[in-house]
């Protein structure tokens, strides 16, 4: 227990006595360990503990938030007083019925076990990955590997009597390979991550991870500038799902919907995508990077069908979103840490598998672009305009993959592009990523099978 029930009760009762309709305490203690291995050396090893408490009060539909590193009762009461002082009136003062704070029972989402190992064993794994990556080609001039392991312990109390706790283990490796030929350099990367501990590294195929990063760097090193223009594009599975995440996922978060700043805010029940498209946001996938047993408002997570055969079925909704839009909560209230109020955020978000194959898509596209690996991107939820970088791409001529290209970007509007995904493959894969938005940077998974977009604007230099 990170905060005594009695203290929590006293703080919440004080908030209610000052007229708050709702009070929530989010207590966090997170241990973090990070190792950077680069130039064949351990460059830094860092560890630390993030600890603090966030207090949220709701008056009507106004959300007030304060946070502090202190867990002293006097400091918590002072935070509540500071928040409420602007909005509390004598007329609004209430009293709180005694709360039992019975611990919330929920189905725990599994996490990969954490084998207790010395730092040396972790370092050995990084050295092995470095050696395998460099061994792929003498042109690999540098390998930089960041190892991250953390355990987030959270506890939530609220004025509705909720008391919930969860321990969330995370582990991830980010490895970047640099290939150099004369003065020309190019990079390739791989960044697998899971909900879990060191057993993930033990089961990770380091050979495959090394090959992915090295091959990408070598391909881009020899790539030619990408031609610019509108063309059909086939996007590979896994991290290619970043397109759906940016172009549509953010538009379905009630954080955007509640201010009508999403182009999809009033489209529930409507055909917003090609019938080949079904999409899901799932917090319950076993061992996945974006999975949670409970969200940061204490609600057990669930599998949420966002789009079914092109029709918008559900939004991604938190408590405030529910209050302001009436859409059902989906266990999607998330935040980076106690420093952020929760907001509706994605978890493991993916386009579900279809029936097509890569060969089907190639044969139907004629000339275009094949994106084997996507980079990051961003979206303006208000207009739906998005952009993504292509990390590894190839020109396609008459349905055949040709030379590699570099410097390509895909841009468009989410609402348009969803109708242009005409073929969806049967090889669904998920990939770990970090998503930044109003409640901070959180672990999310993106995913999709290989899919074909009939036409999209490709930015390039030829």
């Amino acid at each position: 227990m990170l905060l005594q029930k009695e203290t929590a009760h006293e703080v919440i009762a004080y908030a209610v006595s000052l007229g708050a309709d709702f009070c929530e305490l989010f207590i966090e203690k997170t241990s973090v360990q990070s190792i950077l291995y680069t130039s064949k050396k351990i460059k830094d090893i860092s560890s630390g503990i993030d600890s603090g408490i966030g207090v949220r009060l709701i008056y009507g539909d106004l959300a007030l938030y304060a946070y502090s590193n202190s867990n002293k009762k006097e400091d918590l009461l002072d935070m509540v007083k500071k928040l409420a002082s602007q909005f509390s009136t004598k007329a609004s003062h209430k009293s709180l019925t005694a709360l039992n704070f019975t611990p919330l029972q929920y189905k725990a989402i599994s996490a990969l076990p954490n084998k207790d190992v010395l730092l040396t064993e972790k370092i050995e794994a990084l050295k092995k990955l470095d050696t395998l990556t460099r061994g792929h080609s003498p042109l690999i001039s540098q390998v930089s590997i960041r190892f991250l392991q953390k355990e987030q312990n959270i506890e939530i109390y609220n004025s509705e009597g909720l008391h919930a706790t969860e321990t969330r283990p995370y582990i991830r490796i980010y490895s970047e390979a640099v290939a150099q030929d004369g003065s020309v350099q190019a990079t390739g990367s791989v960044s697998p991550g899971r909900r879990g501990g060191f057993n993930f590294i033990e089961t990770l195929n380091l050979q495959q991870a090394a090959e992915t990063a090295a091959k990408q760097a070598l391909v881009v090193l020899k790539a030619k500038p990408c031609p610019a223009g509108v063309m059909p594009v086939v996007i590979e599975n896994g991290f290619g799902g970043v397109i759906f995440h940016e172009a549509c996922g953010h538009l379905l978060e009630t954080t955007s919907v509640e201010t009508r700043s999403s182009v999809l805010w009033d489209k529930k029940g409507e055909m917003i995508a090609h019938p080949a498209v079904s999409a899901v946001d799932d917090g319950t996938n076993e061992n996945m990077w974006g999975s949670l047993s409970i969200d940061d408002e204490g609600m057990p997570t669930q599998r949420t069908q966002l789009i079914k055969n092109g029709i918008l079925e559900n939004f991604i909704c938190d408590k405030i979103g529910n209050m302001k839009t009436g859409h059902a909560r989906t266990g999607s209230g998330r935040r980076q840490s106690y420093r952020f109020a929760p907001a509706s955020r994605m978890r493991n978000t993916f386009i579900d598998k279809g029936t097509s194959t890569l060969d089907d898509m190639m044969q139907s596209m004629g000339d275009g672009l094949y994106c084997a690996a996507m980079g990051g991107g961003s979206v303006n939820p208000g207009t739906g305009e998005f952009n993504f970088s292509v990390n590894e791409g190839y020109l396609v001529k008459n349905g055949k993959i040709q030379n590699a290209i570099k410097g390509a970007t895909l841009i468009g509007k989410g609402a348009d592009i969803l109708h242009k995904i005409s073929m969806v493959g049967n090889n669904l894969e998920l990939a770990a990523g970090m998503c930044g938005s109003v409640s901070g940077s959180i672990p999310t998974t993106v995913g999709q099978p290989v899919l074909k977009v009939d036409d999209i604007l490709v930015g390039g230099q030829a």
């Binding site: 130039s39 351990i42 460059k43 830094d44 090893i45 860092s46 630390g48 503990i49 993030d50 600890s51 603090g52 106004l62 007030l64 938030y65 304060a66 946070y67 502090s68 590193n69 500071k82 909005f87 730092l119 040396t120 370092i123 001039s141 540098q142 930089s144 640099v178 150099q180 003065s183 350099q185 190019a186 990079t187 881009v220 610019a228 223009g229 201010t259 009508r260 700043s261 420093r339 109020a341 980079g375 990051g376 991107g377 961003s378 939820p381 208000g382 207009t383 739906g384 305009e385 952009n387 970088s389 410097g407 390509a408 970007t409 841009i411 604007l457 490709v458 930015g459 390039g460 230099q461």
Partner: protein
């Protein structure tokens, strides 16, 4: 705070560290946002974090704690020493700055406005912008932030520095809809007091572009001369700032690793890192190793003159630190820049804006769309097609692509007046770059 830091350094030294330094970052902040003529969010925060770096047997270990109680700090010291044990020997990184006196600089201007006035300002920002155009369907981002930050540095050689800063930021946006066409823009401002905030200017700048872009269309795919808004130019230079990093050069990820004293840009291009530039909003007096900062010429007449150095990179190159050490309480030692000044050219505004060109006001995806190692970039952009200084067509739905190394060598002309970005950390003349690749219709 000074006593707490000294006590923690003593604890590290008594536990076996050969040298130790500590950074403490603390902040107080207030964030307000307004929606639909009501206050929507109200957030107050007070946090601190203490970061320890130790040197033990020529090995570096770091750790941090957000709790300052005795147990937490004892654990942080122990962790940093354990981390050092597992690190490789680092021949170049050490803790070696020994100043003769403490350095304390406070840039706190207590804003006299009341909470009610701040709330009223946030609400007025939203209500005023809504009044200006009936096509506004939402004001997705609108609010006011007040921040006060303190940074403390001390090392086991007795060097002590302290810097404090306070400021306010205001921001608004407008999402407009006309038929099926939507358009949005966002603007921000920052000042030392609420009274100095120019609400009207922020609203007008937001609407100027949001309204224009309702009529925007992509231009035809091809090569165009381009003038970047100073905010955009600042973002592009930021995406490729590793070109100035000695740390990246050592790690072979700086494409200019072997370019010192070589031509990397047009011969009229001179760029200075100016931590105390008179018109800059944020002044930086000391770096994260306690070194007093001063101007550094990065590029002079197109020639790369220096990298950013801390004491570790300087030791590697056999030179002296430039005072650009960067380290947060939770991070390892690196380097970073401060304010950027690009020296003015000789052309009048009419000369710079002569002929046809694209004026780029807003960009999307500069980060993921830029490869700092290869220099390639490609990102989404919005702006105007211009002729002889006149905006003749609003433009959206295009990408601008190129290579950073070529970009700096394709300067057609530079204006003689300096402009600055919103955060007043970048000062540059209007620069026309020739023939960038643009994808449109």
């Amino acid at each position: 705070m000074k006593n707490l830091i000294q006590k923690t350094i003593d604890r590290a030294m008594n536990s076996g560290a050969d040298a130790c330094d500590i950074i403490v970052n603390s902040s107080d902040s207030l964030n307000l946002s307004a929606q639909d003529a009501k206050l929507e969010k109200f957030k107050v925060a007070k946090t601190s974090v203490l970061g320890i770096r130790v040197v033990k047997n020529k090995k570096i270990g770091i750790s941090y704690s957000e709790s300052f109680d005795d147990d937490a700090l004892t654990f942080a010291v122990k962790s940093s020493l354990e981390n050092a044990d597992y690190s490789d020997v680092n021949e170049f990184e050490d803790i070696k700055i020994k100043n003769s006196s403490d350095f304390v600089k406070e840039n706190i201007e207590k804003d006299s406005s009341s909470m009610e006035e701040k709330i009223e300002f946030a609400m007025k920002l939203e209500s005023e912008i809504r009044k200006r155009d009936s096509r506004i369907t939402a004001v997705p981002y609108n609010g006011l932030s007040v921040a006060e930050s303190h940074s403390y540095y001390m090392n086991s050689l007795g060097t002590y520095t302290e810097e404090s800063e306070s400021y306010l930021s205001g921001y608004t946006s407008a999402l407009l809809k006309e038929g099926d066409i939507t358009s949005m823009h966002y603007s921000s401002m920052q000042e030392r007091s609420l009274a100095m905030m120019n609400l009207n200017q922020c609203i007008e700048e937001t609407l100027e572009h949001a309204v224009s872009w309702l009529k925007a269309a992509p231009v035809a795919t091809g090569k165009y001369d381009v003038v970047f808004d100073t905010n955009v130019l600042s973002e592009i230079l930021g995406a490729f700032s590793s070109c100035f990093s000695a740390k990246e050069a050592i790690e072979k990820t700086n494409p200019w690793e072997n370019k010192l004293q070589h031509q990397v840009a047009d011969m009229n291009f001179t760029m200075i890192d100016s931590p105390l530039y008179v018109d800059a909003f944020f002044k930086q007096h000391v770096d994260s190793e306690g070194v007093l900062k001063k101007d550094l010429t990065l590029i002079e007449n197109g020639v790369l003159k220096s990298f950013y150095h801390n004491t570790a990179t300087a030791a590697y190159y056999g030179t002296t630190t430039t005072g650009h050490a960067a380290r947060g309480a939770k991070s390892a030692l690196g380097v970073s820049g401060s304010n950027w000044l690009i020296k003015a050219g000789i052309s009048s505004k009419d000369e710079v804006t002569d002929g046809s060109y694209l004026e780029i006001i807003d960009v999307m995806g500069i980060g993921p769309g830029s490869d700092s190692v290869s220099g390639e970039f490609s990102f989404g952009a919005s702006g105007y097609l211009c002729k002889n200084g006149k905006r003749i067509q609003p433009v959206k739905g295009i990408t601008v692509a190129g290579n950073f190394n070529k970009l700096l060598n394709s300067i057609k002309c530079m204006g003689k007046d300096l402009e600055h970005n919103h955060s007043r950390g970048m000062f540059a003349p209007l620069i026309k770059f020739s023939e960038l690749y643009v994808a449109g219709k």
